[in-house]
Symmetry: none
Amino acid sequence: MFQSAAAAGNAYRDEHLLFDHGNTSAYVDLREIILTKKEHELLALLVENAGEIVPRDILLERIWGYGKDIRTRTLDVHIRRLRKKLFPYGDTYIETIFGVGYRFQRFREPRNYMTFMPELVAV
Amino acid sequence: MFQSAAAAGNAYRDEHLLFDHGNTSAYVDLREIILTKKEHELLALLVENAGEIVPRDILLERIWGYGKDIRTRTLDVHIRRLRKKLFPYGDTYIETIFGVGYRFQRFREPRNYMTFMPELVAV
DNA sequence: GCAGAATGTAAAAAAAATGTAAATTCGCGA
DNA sequence: TCGCGAATTTACATTTTTTTTACATTCTGC
């Protein structure tokens, strides 16, 4: 549960994002983004658990070594900067689970009427 | 990963730089520059991995034989002198990846409207 | 809808890494 | 051994990242 850098060497790839665990740079569409160490660790941990909620506790403990007693906003600030670098998909990729933590979601092509329910279009 | 002098004998060449692995002098446009031994090794290692980030660790280990525990500014000083000799392209060729290392980037002609989108010019 | 708790955000402060000039040391050829 | 250029260290300056602070905003249960 909550895989760590074990999955290193492997890269995550989808429609808009290319992320390599061993590399501090990533690609959003054709744009290279350079992640700082903490940003990279954070995104790595989230991506490794794509589709699953990773609680704040875990993030703070794994990346910062903080215990449950520590009160800080540093996680939120880092999430924010990550989302910014993932523009314009920041909120699409990184979802906030209120009261729990965050979840990285694989990109899925947004449905439109045409592809979703073709019979409703061009009637 | 992180090729060494194996690729010797071959020369690197682009719009502004000619660098021969077997030669301690290089050319920046039509100007000859003379590299010292360490400068040459450093540039060679970076050029061999053009486009890829080479971590400080690796540079310090491959060129100086230093371990991760050694604290020194000598790498930075060499980078600085290299950049100076590559004037006015020093910062263009040698990029700093904060917290990680350096990256040599092939020279790319800056785009202008003419070359990028010719159909938008001279309307 | 409200109160209280959790998260978002901008800006300042602190910490860490890199840049730089100048001094010092090293090493090799004469 | 001496002299000289190369390499390294030193001592700050500067830049970048990370954390904190101080509020603003959003969410949830009642």
